[in-house]
Structure formats: structure tokens, C-alpha cells
Symmetry: C2
């Protein structure tokens, strides 16, 4: 089936969202819409949290330069955003999205909203930073969230970034009810950018699928390492995930940084997603071991830029 | 003259501001108010810019721990403010002031106001950061400046700092006209904190002296190294300044950091007050050479805490 045929079928078949049993067999998969076979194993190697610290920026740029990390997303409210915005502006071919951010989850190093604080009071703590965490008592106003997301995107464009996609830091816009998810989608639609949503999440968050429109891209699978994996099993976890990669589009959500003074200090209150964690990710995803498994498993790397193009066809 | 006698004379003698010729000979000097002789050579070794980066925080704490850096001031709007606020809270004996900040003078690493951006529009650029610099066309509204200064001080108190003094990052509140200086003083008076003003600056900025009230503390001299000093002459500059230290209270305004990845990246667009500059300051002010000159010259270290106490007597 060539691309033209696929394109002509898309509107008809995507309307099948309300009839999943029919649609599942007949409508083209995301892989097919990208021009690959239905059983192709396609992978986005995606570095999160760019802009958070200089260490994250430097490691992400090194990972991109090494050639196998091929997509990343940027936190606009973070202090080192200007550094990565400057890089993105001078490297327009790089697949940078925006990592929409509503939390400031570290203790000793913090950031706050791009929108004026008094316009987004439910997003900030008593000192004007984004909340360290959202507790059950934290009420986030979706309208304020949407205002803040737009402010982040506007600043990114204003500083020269042309993002290929949007995603959500700590999945806050996906795991906290349909109103926040609708705000995320509404912003994505208005800016004509794909939003990172994975089919894996539909069971746990039943409000996701019904909120999607037919043209929204849905990734088939997501892989991200969890605190349960001991450091010495790091590479094994990723190699197993690659060897068992199912057909379709998978995003590896990874976190790169160098475990230097800055990063150790910024993350010192807990090990999860800390400096050593990120150094391990950097080491694996820039290794010849990773390159070899990709080759052996005939895994094809793709980017959000390709996904966005496929969606617009 | 004992302290009680000095205290009883202060109100009378300080009224002499309008009669400088009479006052200069009779009123007690700042040194005398502190309980020292008129010819004592008193020095505050003051590290600026704390909170700016982790590197600055770590070097300043190491400088304070080494024992000869004895005062510092903190930039509340900066990303690493929470780290130093936590340190200040758990080390209440340390002589920390607030380094009131209205600029974000680096290119790749930036910060913005503590007050809501829409309440301080003249302080921010089109992306919501404090201006990189103030040009002749930049109009700063002193009312907005004052609002922001109060927001910075309020956040500092709220996060556990009990500052001993206030000073002005890049001297913006001192070198930009009487209205901004009055805003600085007004805030200092309201929070009952001494504001760093040096008699050295009166000639260049004639609006300073008339704006002061009789109880304001005025430091006699300031020493700060300038871009004209080549790196190899760094220690010589400071040693000469110490050997030629005049009687009275002098503040050495110094800038400490480690020239590591973070600091090199944060300051890479220019060398002035950059990573290497700050590493040189750190090296000198934690050296045995510095300790030896202080001893040889019988220079006495004092802090802002002592100045504030003297002023309140």
C-alpha cells in the first residue's frame, strides 16, 4: 500500500475510533502511515528534561551528536532554557519538542511559571515556585494550566525554537484527569503540534482515548526505566526491551545528564531520576552496545518530525 | 570614649550631615561607633552573588568555612536560591545579606522577577527575564523596582533567611539616579536593615548623600577588583589593597565560584566576573597568603551584623 493510498484512507479509517473492533483490524497502523510495514519495529530515542540544568543540556547535546539519541524535549521554565534555545535555533534539524512543565520537583534548585504568578495561583507554592509535588489536596485549575502551557510555547517560539512535538513533564497532563488532558490537547491542536500520547496508558487512564480527535497521533508503546531496576541491571533492562520490542512505534523515554557537581547537587535529595541515574542513561544510549543491539534487531529509528508529517498527510 | 558615650552623642552628631565641615572633625567615625579607635583598619570580606549558581554557593560556603570570607549576600530570584536559603536557615550565625537583583546579565542562564511579571513590566524583557542590561532606552519604573525588592525580601524571610544587610547587584540601585536609590533606602528602612552605601561613591553620584537619613550606615571605602587587572596580578592587587588599607571600615566586594562545567557554561559569553575570575578570587581569599597579610597589617575583620548593631545603639 503506497503512501497516497494510505493518505486517502486515513480520514475514513480514523473515524473508526468509536468502533474499535472494526478499526483495529482495518485501519492503517501508525507504522503504515509512516510508510513502513505493519510489523516494522520503529523507535524514538527521546531524551527528556532538556533545559533543566547545564549538565542535562551538555549530555543531551552529546547524546544527539553521538547519533542514536534522536529526539528530545525542552523545559521552557527552567533556568538553562536559554542555552538550549540558542542551540535549537542554530540546529533547526534537531527533533526538539517542548516538555511542558508544571512542577519544580527538586528541593535545592527550583523554577516557576512563565506566565505571571498572579495569573496562575493554583500552579505555585507560597514562594512562587511550581509545586514540588501535587498532593491530593493540590487543586490545579485547568484554565491556569492552559494559560501557562501557552506562555511556555510562546516563549519557545519567541526565542527561536520550532518544536516538533509537545509532551508533559512527569506526565502531569496525562495522569491527572481529563480536564488537564483536554487542556494539553487543546493547546497542541491550536499550535498544530503532535502531543505525546501512548496507547499503553489507555487502560490506566480511561479518559485519554475518548478525548482524542481522529487526527491525533498515538504512539503504540512507551519504555522508560523505573526505580525498581538496580544500577547494575541498567543496560540489561534496555537490551531486553530492545530485543523484545513489539511491532509499531515505541518511544524510549530517557533522561540524560552528566553526574557532575551541578547535577549531583541539583538532585541530591533522592536518587530517582538523579545524577547517577542520568549518567547511566547517557552511558548506555551513547554506547556501541546500544548501536549493536539496534542493528541486530533491525530496529528503525524515527523522530517526531516524521510522525508529525505522517499525521498531516 | 566608651560605647555609652558614643551612643549618647550619635543623634546629635549625625544631625551634622548638613554641616559637613563641622561634623567631619567631631562626630564619631563608623569605626568608633563600632567600639574601635579612629585609626583602626576594619574589613568586611564580602562575597557577592550567592544563589546565582551551585558553583557560587559551594565556593562561598567553602570560603566562609575557611574562615576569612566573613560576609556574603544572596540573590533571591536566582535558581539556586533555595539551596543557599536552606544553608542560611541552618547556619543562622553566618552574616548573610540580600543581594537585591534587577538584572539577569548572562546569556545562556537566566532568571526573572519574584513579583508577578505583569506587575513589573519595566523590569523584564520580551521573554519575561530581567533585562540582560539596562540601556539608555531602558526605563525602569522605581515603583516596580520597589515592589520587586519587597517581593525578594519577603521570599527570603519566608524561606528562613534572617538577613543582616541589603546590597544591590551590579550597583543598579546606586548608580541609576536618586529615585531608584530612594526605593532601595525606603525598603531598607521599612525592613530595618542596613543598606550597603560607601562614601567612595558620593562624588560620582551626588544624589546619594542627601538621600541618606542620619541613622543610615555609610561604609568608608570599597575595594573591588576590575577587568583591568590581569590574572597574574590578581593576588598582588589584593595584597596592595590590604597593605594600603586606609583607616575606617572597608568592604572588599569579591565574587567566589569554582571554575567548573556549570560556571564556565554560565559565564562563557565574557570573561569579566566569569568562572576563572571567580576561581581566582576563591583561591586568594582562602589562601594562607591572605591570612598572613591580614595578620601583618593588623587588619580587623568585622561583619554587617556588627555594623547593624552599632547603628541601632
Amino acid at each position: 500500500m503506497n503512501r497516497k493510498t494510505v493518505a486517502s484512507l486515513v480520514p475514513l479509517l480514523l473515524c473508526g475510533a468509536a468502533f474499535p473492533l472494526v478499526a483495529q483490524t482495518n485501519r492503517p497502523t501508525l507504522a503504515e502511515k509512516l510508510g513502513y510495514s505493519r510489523d516494522a519495529r520503529l523507535l524514538i530515542v527521546h531524551a527528556d528534561d532538556v533545559g533543566m540544568t547545564h549538565s542535562v543540556n551538555a549530555a543531551t547535546i552529546a547524546g544527539l551528536d553521538a547519533g542514536l539519541v534522536n529526539s528530545a524535549s525542552i523545559m521552557v521554565p527552567c533556568p538553562w532554557f536559554p542555552e538550549i534555545a540558542d542551540y535549537a535555533k542554530s540546529h533547526p534539524q534537531v527533533d526538539f519538542g517542548l516538555h511542558l512543565t508544571l512542577t519544580s520537583e527538586r528541593v535545592y534548585y527550583r523554577w516557576g511559571p512563565v506566565a505571571p504568578k498572579d495569573k496562575v495561583p493554583t500552579l505555585v507554592d507560597e514562594n512562587g515556585y511550581f509545586h514540588l509535588d501535587w498532593k491530593t489536596s493540590t487543586r490545579i485549575d485547568p484554565k491556569e494550566a492552559e494559560l501557562e502551557l501557552r506562555a511556555q510555547i510562546d516563549r519557545a517560539y519567541s526565542m527561536g525554537i520550532r518544536p516538533t512535538h509537545l509532551d508533559s513533564h512527569q506526565y502531569r497532563l496525562l495522569q491527572n484527569g481529563k480536564e488537564l488532558f483536554r487542556a494539553f490537547l487543546s493547546v497542541a491542536h491550536d499550535y498544530k503540534l503532535p502531543a505525546f500520547v501512548s496507547r499503553d496508558w489507555f487502560a490506566e487512564s480511561p479518559y485519554l482515548e475518548p478525548a482524542l480527535s481522529p487526527t491525533d497521533i498515538v504512539i503504540d508503546h512507551t519504555v522508560t526505566i523505573s526505580p525498581g531496576v538496580p544500577p547494575e541491571k541498567w543496560n540489561e533492562f534496555y537490551k531486553n526491551a530492545l530485543k523484545n520490542l513489539p511491532p509499531g512505534v515505541t518511544e524510549f523515554v530517557i533522561h540524560l545528564a552528566f553526574a557532575n557537581d551541578e547535577m549531583n547537587a541539583a538532585t541530591r535529595e533522592r536518587d530517582t531520576w538523579g545524577a547517577a541515574w542520568r549518567q547511566r542513561d547517557f552511558d548506555f544510549f551513547t554506547s556501541s552496545e546500544f548501536r549493536q543491539v539496534l542493528r541486530e534487531e533491525s530496529i528503525q529509528l524515527i523522530t517526531w518530525r516524521e510522525l508529525a508529517r505522517a499525521a498531516s498527510r
